[in-house]
């Protein structure tokens, strides 16, 4: 296992009633990089996200964050250790405004501190997180992602492209170490996608965020990713730089059908 893998997935298999959604998937996300995860529909990409965040228990396999096995932790414990995500089918807090969507995330973060961390092998005591001023932090992040003008709009009224930015902002509120983005560009216009790309670059370069990205917009993937995994039928069929992946015959076949 590479030493600089911040997040790694180790031999994960998921079966739904005899059908394999993921088989023996290995994946490493290096710190400070953008790792892409592509593949045809039904390849198991979102399933893998659910496994990483703990929303779905794998049949076999482990998830490691910074070398530590988090497989048995519940979703919220993993979030507290620094895994955040967005959703392909938007999961915004639809009764709240844009600002409150971000603010409540910080308020949730403020409840983290002080709970005894029992039940974790080898360590005990308290996890401490500095309390943050939720409202200030929300305004700061709104500015960062460029949503200040829309702060008081109920999110239920936003177009999809903007809503995806809100989800990104909300995920940033808990100051994650690794951020999983699930099809952020779907439903966005070209301009929105370009702005989004610039934002992700900024977060990675300036703030040292690590990103794992599922995306179908190949222009975005090829531009922004350092490394790409290609998933097909629940298996990793290719890994490498954007150029290498694009040139890979198996990838072409996965998308276009076998060339025979």
């Amino acid at each position: 296992m590479t030493a600089d893998a911040l997040l790694s997935v180790d031999g994960v298999t998921v079966s739904f009633g005899g059908k394999r959604a993921l088989s023996d998937v290995d994946l490493q996300v290096r710190a400070g990089e953008v790792t892409g995860l592509i593949g045809p529909n039904g390849a198991g990409k979102t399933t893998l996200f659910n496994v990483i965040t703990g929303l779905l228990a794998p049949t076999r396999g482990r998830v490691l964050l910074d070398g530590r096995d988090v497989s048995r932790l519940e979703t919220h414990r993993r979030a507290r250790l620094g895994i955040a995500r967005t959703f392909q089918r938007l999961e915004l807090f639809t009764d709240l405004t844009v600002r409150d969507n971000l603010r409540v995330a910080a308020e949730i973060r403020n409840t983290w501190r002080g709970f005894p961390r029992l039940g974790l092998r080898g360590r005990s005591g308290f996890e401490r997180h500095a309390r943050i001023d939720a409202a200030d932090e929300a305004d700061r992040v709104l500015d960062l992602v460029g949503l200040t003008d829309l702060a008081d709009v109920p999110v239920s009224e936003l177009p999809t492209g903007t809503a995806r930015v809100v989800e990104l902002g909300r995920a940033l509120m808990i100051r994650p170490r690794v951020l999983l983005l699930d099809e952020p560009a779907s439903g966005q216009t070209d301009e929105e996608t370009r702005a989004f790309e610039a934002l992700v670059r900024r977060l990675v370069h300036d703030d040292g965020l690590t990103v794992l990205l599922i995306e179908h917009d190949m222009d975005l993937v090829m531009d922004v990713c350092d490394r790409i995994y290609v998933l097909d039928f629940g298996e990793v069929i290719a890994v490498g730089s954007p150029e290498a992946v694009r040139a890979d015959g198996r990838v072409r076949d996965a998308y276009l059908g076998s060339s025979s």
Partner: protein, 236 residues
Amino acid sequence: MVGDPELALELRDVHAAYGSIEVLRGVDLAVPYGKVVALLGPNGAGKSTTLRVIAGQLAVSRGDVGVAGRRVNGASPDELARRGVCLVPEGKGIFPNLSVRENLWMATHVGGSLASIEAVAYERFPRLGERRRQLAGTLSGGEQQMLAMARALSTNPALVLLDELSMGLAPLVVEELYEIVANIAETGVSLLVVEQFARAVLGIADWVGIMIRGRIQEFASPSAVEADLSTAYLGE
């Protein structure tokens, strides 16, 4: 308005959305009688959504859908099915907890007797005949697709919509399935086929539409679009 009697299917400036997510942004498309049209394009472009709109599963928010020269906006899926629109949905065209025979029985809701439907289905797919009492959910993936297609074959529909037949299947099985699709096409049925494996359908299609971001970007003959496909899927 739509209403060209020469066309089995006609879409004019069709818009549709899931909640606030607009997926179709002005689709124009036509399927002439007895022709096979393939709809290709990257994930999330709106191909399956187009089929769902035609089958009445998703409401059109703007534009018109015409089947056999009649505007059918707002008709319910069962109404459309009885009018001869047959959608084989992606990956789940069968009732898994019903036997093969019972699955075919459900096809009689559009007319025809179970005996005649069974006769056609088992003649074309002898493997289904052998397994007529087996639960459909326990069939292999290819057999399940055959069962789903058996409905399209045996009920004489006016328009067949196939969504990602190849989903989750091995390439050899996919080839076999598309041979059957070609057979269906020869009988003069109008077909609209959505497929990710572009190469599987290029051989049988009369026309190809490439769909990107909720619009048909290009509509041409199969040979003309082949070169552009790679770009559409994998970027420039």
